[in-house]
Symmetry: C2
DNA sequence: CTGAAAGCGCTAACAG
DNA sequence: CTGTTAGCGCTTTCAG
């Protein structure tokens, strides 16, 4: 049924080693024989048996793409962009295996034989267990989206802090002083980074920081809605809100409209990430684009090169964000007219 | 370094065959020995080498989840829900391998050794090549989302036609007569099904079908926007629009607002799928929920059972849709007041 | 119920 | 440059 190396060897009257060499582009073979072998291999539709290869080479041809969770991803867009970015680089001979960390009770089954390398889309320190498990087992691992202080780690990061700084600055330049934030989930590094960008911008521009203007969300639309309602209940509601992602911004929009207020005339709103839907909101959402698929792509490329060249060395790569100016930010309403 | 069956055998002074039997729950072994073996295996953190298993058993422990494309998925939500549904059922010993059909020049590498089974999220007949390739190679395959006439095929389907019928009926019951549709991509089965539901509803209720009210989209927000603009340009714009998915509905909303019209006072709008963002639109979007993750889950369960019991028999399973009534549909404006 | 022997398809020394 | 030999870790006959 299936064609093996031996079959080809028999037909061509060479040893199976020779065939193997030809198939793997070994230098230890004449162009002449190689050509002959490759030709009949193609003719016979030879497909390598990866299980056999794997067994002898002690590897798997599997690339693991891990998320903290797959069951309760907060943003489908985020998930999709990550997979897309990684997938675009993974070549034919690898299997892209998608997984959630929360599916494992322990990491025993994650070993060199199971994964040639791992890409981890990480949010918080909870994922460290996997990172160090991989390092311990000498499985090449690339950590996306969360900086790990350890210099030995390969990190692909989004420059969120700068992006947040930019967004907040834009609000300030529009005359806003009463600027609130809807934070993302506590413990997520993205949350910390974006908050730092926010705080730095306020400090730089000497805008006072107001405790009531800092409300917590968890990156879901629902939480953005709730958070915004809370902000609207304060005695002096903000004139501008920086939501730590677009999903929460959409939730906030709903709360604002329900309160009978207008965007941006009454309240300006800026999001983060730039989701598909953001430009289709009314008004369209000003936001900070984060090229997640780029992060995924860069991570996968790096991982593949590590596997191929067996040269794992810690490294931090930053992918820039991009400020996207749309309609949800306007000049601060002056107190008079209000 | 790694513990093998031989290691355990040596320690316990039994043959490796016996160990293998214990590990695989064979009946040909005494409970006594089995217990002893299992214990030391656990103690030693034994992890089976799947490459070796695969080689001898001529399988891979890979489950392939295929999409028509992964690069240009129209809806991240759709993608995510599918993966989530399938993933929730795939057990530890399988790898969930995600892939796009458009990544393959030919399907040579897709054989029994590479995939124990395939789940195909299918949109159109273009995917048939893969389906028949799998069937030909005796790879168990479950086709989601698109009915294939062939009785030999396992199909998990969403009852889109009924869902669309329900949605349109709801519009009619609200007094609408001038009902337009924004169709999805031509050739997609979902498009055909939803259109049939729409047409049947009109016919049943004796509402005339108007050619100008049938506009084509491709399931993207952008296309919904463009389509709606076109509808608004007609001499007698519709009072209600059924968009074949929520993404296009969002695009349509934007176009409607830009024209200075209100939803639902001037135009009622109903979508399909029920995306995360749909309930956060203002007004919130009335739609038909399609439980994609359920489709994925059911498909994966079925596939696993086929693999385990080696009993591939064609079957069609329908998953019901659910009408979600929100704010984007209102009574038809009467001509007078307009 | 247990063990000995063979072999899955491939790559990797080693020898020529 | 080519071939011979061995062996990866496991399951599966076949004998006992």
């Amino acid at each position: 049924m299936t064609v093996t190396i031996k079959d080809i060897a028999k037909i061509l009257n060479v040893s199976h080693t020779t065939v193997s060499r030809a198939l793997n582009n070994s230098p230890l073979i004449s162009d002449e024989t190689k050509k002959r072998i490759l030709e009949t291999a193609k003719q016979l539709n030879y497909v390598p048996n990866y299980s056999a290869k794997s067994l002898v080479q002690n590897r798997s041809y599997n690339i693991g793409l891990f998320f903290s969770t797959i069951t309760q991803v907060t943003s489908p867009g985020f998930f999709y962009e990550t997979v897309r970015g990684v997938h675009s680089v993974i070549t034919d001979n690898y299997n892209l295996v998608v997984n959630g960390i929360d599916n494992y009770k322990d990491f025993q089954s994650i070993d060199t034989k199971r994964f040639d390398g791992i890409i981890l889309m990480s949010q918080s320190e909870k994922d460290n267990a996997l990172v160090y498990h991989a390092l311990d087992r000498h499985i090449p691992i690339v950590v996306l989206n969360r900086e790990i202080a350890d210099a030995g780690i390969v990190n692909i990061l989004s420059a969120d802090r700068r992006g947040a700084y930019h967004a907040v600055t834009h609000l300030i330049e529009n005359g806003h002083v009463k600027i609130a934030i809807i934070e993302g989930e506590k413990g997520f590094q993205a949350t910390t980074e974006r908050k730092e960008g926010f705080l730095t911008a306020l400090i730089d521009k000497q805008i006072p920081i107001h405790g009531d203007y800092i409300v917590e969300g968890n990156y879901t639309m629902e939480s953005g809605y709730t958070a915004m309602k809370q902000l609207l209940r304060t005695s002096h509601p903000p004139t501008a809100v920086f939501s730590f992602n677009d999903e929460m911004a959409v939730g906030a929009m709903k709360a604002i409209f329900e309160a009978g207020l207008r965007i941006p005339q009454d309240i300006s709103l800026v999001g983060f990430d730039d989701r598909q839907f953001s430009s289709y909101m009314t008004p369209s959402l000003t936001t900070v684009r984060r090229a997640i698929s780029e992060v995924g792509r860069a991570g996968a490329k790096k991982l593949l090169s590590i596997i191929d060249n067996n040269d794992y060395v810690g490294q931090k790569v930053y992918i820039d964000t991009q400020f996207i100016r749309r309609e949800s930010v306007g000049p601060a309403p002056n107190e008079q007219s209000k």
